[in-house]
């Protein structure tokens, strides 16, 4: 039962059995043809011994499938270089001390749910007093100045505010992702900043349940925070990044 890290496969109950569960709908009526179509797709995905365990006609010419199979692909994890937040999370006290010692002035941040996004709960968990999962939000930190612009803030307005208050960091929240609306909105935000020559002034952060670090970096942000982020994660990142940049 030794894992070969150069060829990692999914695991059901025996090492390297490759077992994967999948479900999807095809725009085909339930029946032999649809079943075969599902099997062919699974095959193209690299599944072997495909077992279609559920097939259910949904009406309107659609059919839902549940299937299991053994994945022929494997992944060499020794070559994985996952982007990683290169700072470490400190706690409330450590962060305030760090600011006092290493920065010597209060840190100013501004946050907003931009575009048409009105999901403030996530951003509020990071910024508001109350915080998240029992941890205080940034407003509670004596060494932070926090501006929370709330929901549905146009990109321009957020940038103007950031400049006005001399923010160290801008925090953007994007929760709605249907039809990739967040990508559009975030790209526009970075382009606006760059057009104004303001990009390097700020630590630029985006967060939301569908945000990953990779995506954030790809879109031109410094960092991205997803599900389960705590205020301390974000505060730590901000203050350490400020200091790193100062040193450069």
């Amino acid at each position: 039962m030794k894992v070969d890290r150069r060829a990692v496969k999914p695991y059901g109950d025996t090492i390297n059995d490759g077992k994967v569960q999948m479900s999807f709908t095809l725009p085909l009526k339930a029946g032999r043809e649809a079943e075969e179509a599902a099997r062919i797709l699974a095959d193209k995905m690299g599944l072997e011994e495909v077992d279609i365990v559920g097939m259910k006609d949904l009406g309107e010419g659609f059919c839902f499938f549940i299937l299991y199979g053994k994945l022929s692909h494997s992944v060499d994890v020794t070559t994985i270089k996952a982007a990683e937040i290169d700072t470490n999370t400190m706690d409330y006290y450590e962060i305030n001390n760090f600011i006092k010692k290493e920065i010597g002035r209060k840190v100013t941040v501004v946050g907003a749910c931009t575009g048409s996004d009105a999901h403030t709960v996530g951003l509020d968990s990071i910024l508001n007093m109350k915080g998240y999962a029992g941890e205080y939000g940034l407003e509670r930190y004596p060494e932070f100045n926090v501006y929370n612009l709330g929901s549905q803030v146009p990109n321009e307005k957020l940038i103007i505010k950031a400049v006005e208050i001399g923010a160290d960091a801008i925090l953007v929240s994007q929760v709605v992702t249907q039809k990739e609306i967040h990508i559009k909105n975030l790209t526009e935000f970075v382009e606006l900043l760059e057009a104004e020559g303001l990009r390097d002034r700020f630590v630029l952060i985006v967060g939301g349940p569908r945000i990953t670090l990779e995506l954030a970096i790809e879109l031109g942000f410094d960092a991205g925070f997803g599900r389960g982020t705590t205020p301390a994660d974000v505060a730590s990142y901000i203050v350490q990044t400020i200091v790193k940049r100062k040193k450069k």
């Binding site: 479900s23 999807f24 709908t25 259910k56 949904l58 009406g59 309107e60 659609f62 839902f64 048409s116 996004d117 009105a118 403030t120 709960v121 549905q152 709605v176 992702t177 249907q178 039809k179 609306i181 349940p209 599900r227």
Partner: protein, 519 residues
């Protein structure tokens, strides 16, 4: 139904009493003012629809035209009626002419108000009659194709594209859904107009337009005939255009409308003065059209904790009830919002959930509760999510709910896929059938956790309502009494659309509806 909770009737009476005082406090404001949205609604009722060459809806064109020149203190009926009399054209033709700048209503000589009232009233009566016919058609159809047994299975479609929505809705209805709600594109409530025509590009939902209503209604009528079960259609009549959407819904035979007295204020930062006026007229239209409203108390629990703020939900239900009754809605038309949002990690959370669900059906026995599924505590763990939806369905059948908005296992991920919805229907059918008479079979232990919880929530609601009654609803909202959100009377969007009625203000529809509804 026996009182399983042994609740103190006196507490309920005090709640109702306080709610009356709250409504009394706001009623003068409602009656002294009109809004741009109400006047656009009048324009629509008179027959105006369509858009101008820049895509601006004609009701907006005509109302803005009048507002610009003389304000709206007399309402649009006066100028519009005059133009009809003078030109012999109908309201829509007049609006088109105005839009094309071929006509200014202020260039026409004026009849006296009484003449206009007398001569044009028949057009208004005709409009109201045609709405009545639509309502009657619903009654007929529901006799022919009786709706399914309660709890009704209520699912949403939200693809952004009305044609995909239609396919998804038809599939869902065939699978057993009783009610289809078309979710609106994000932030439509902030639009001070209603988009026009069939739409295929929305985010997180599909625009509410009259054409979209019609397309969906037709599709569902087909399935109703096919399955012998009348499928109800829902949309949203909240936001800056709430009365307009109400009338569109009445015209296209929607059956339910999301409509809450305070939702726009709290959750969309729409001006409160505006909202209170708009909700009154919009509900009158809903009432007349035989539409069941769905209030939005579930929204409190997306930002507040469901255990701590349970009493706020209940207090809001009392307020919504009282305001709805004043608009002529019958108890049967008041679908009060409630939601299964207690953190799933809480010990005995399920007991608290059933306590409150039972409490609501006890207090509002004739109002169908619209029970919302878990959303806030749903995660990417679709299996756990599916299970939480199952407990939610069980809570419903245990406590005798009426309108069950089915939870989606992918709630935390995306708007529902076709099979997500199918799975949710399967979930509800299984639970409802397998525990069909559970509510008849169980009693709650005297003075046990369930009964005590119900009592606590009710007691806290009394206190909140009495406090609100004392300081007035506007002040209370300003102080953040609801969902810890504070709004000022002058703040928020749409304040400019509030217009003081002049002494010769006239809106024939208010009177016609009032008469019909006996208010």
């Amino acid at each position: 139904m026996k009182d399983k909770l042994k609740i103190d009737r006196d507490l309920i009476n005090r709640c109702r009493h306080a709610s009356k005082a709250i409504a009394d406090g706001i009623q003068p404001h409602i009656e002294e003012n009109t809004t741009t949205a109400i006047e656009r609604t009048v324009a629509r009722l008179m027959g105006i629809d369509g858009v101008n060459s820049q895509g601006i809806p004609l009701p907006n064109v005509i109302v803005d035209h009048i507002k610009e020149v003389e304000g709206l203190g007399r309402g649009v009926f006066y100028r519009l009626g005059n133009a009809i009399l003078k030109t012999g054209k109908n309201a829509r033709e007049i609006a088109v002419d105005v839009a094309n700048s071929r006509l200014s209503l202020f260039k026409l000589p004026m009849y006296g108000l009484n003449v206009i009232k007398q001569k044009i009233r028949p057009i208004a009566v005709e409009a109201v009659n045609s709405l009545r016919k639509i309502r009657e058609k619903r009654t007929l159809l529901q006799e022919k194709y009786p709706p399914g047994a309660k709890p009704w299975l209520y699912v949403i479609v939200a693809t952004g594209n009305i044609y995909e929505d239609v396919a998804q809705a038809r599939a869902a209805a065939r699978q057993g859904a009783d009610i289809i709600a078309v979710i609106r594109s994000t932030a439509q409530s902030l639009l001070d107009y209603v988009p026009y025509g069939a739409t295929t590009e929305g985010f997180g939902g599909t625009y509410a337009t009259q054409e979209n209503f019609r397309l969906m209604r037709n599709a569902l009528d087909e399935v109703s005939a096919e399955t012998g079960r009348y499928i109800q259609l829902v949309n949203y009549c909240s936001g800056l255009a709430m009365p307009e959407i109400a009338v569109m819904g009445a015209m296209e035979r929607l059956d339910m409308m999301l409509n809450d007295a305070m939702y726009g204020i709290l959750f969309r930062n729409i001006n409160m003065k505006r909202t209170f006026i708009d909700q009154y007229f919009s509900r009158m239209i809903n009432a007349f059209a035989g539409i069941i409203i769905n209030t939005g108390e579930d929204n409190y629990l997306t930002t507040s904790d469901a255990v701590e703020e349970a009493h706020v939900v209940l207090a809001s239900q009392f307020i919504n009830e009282e305001l709805a009754l004043r608009s002529g809605l019958k108890h049967e038309q008041i679908g009060l919002g409630h939601a299964f949002e207690i953190n799933p990690d809480i010990e005995d959370g399920f007991l608290m959930e059933i306590a409150q669900a039972q409490l609501v059906t006890m207090i509002f026995p004739d109002s169908p509760v619209k029970y919302m599924p878990p959303t806030k505590h749903m995660t990417g763990d679709i299996f756990k999510g599916y299970l939480m939806n199952g407990l939610f369905n069980l809570s419903s059948i245990m406590t005798g709910q009426s309108i069950q908005l089915l939870g989606m296992l992918t709630e935390a991920i995306h708007t529902p896929f076709l099979h997500d919805r199918a799975l949710s229907i399967e979930n509800a059918k299984y639970i409802f059938n397998n525990a069909r008479h559970l509510q008849d079979e169980i009693r709650f232990t005297s003075n046990g956790r369930v009964q005590k919880r119900a009592d606590t929530v009710l007691t806290e609601a009394v206190h909140l309502l009495e406090e609100v009654a004392e300081k007035g609803i506007m002040k209370a909202i300003e102080e953040g009494k609801f969902a810890v959100i504070s709004r000022t009377p002058e703040g928020g969007r749409g304040m400019k659309g509030v217009i003081k009625k002049e002494s010769d203000y006239f809106n024939p529809f208010i009177d016609l509806f009032k008469e019909e509804l006996g208010i």
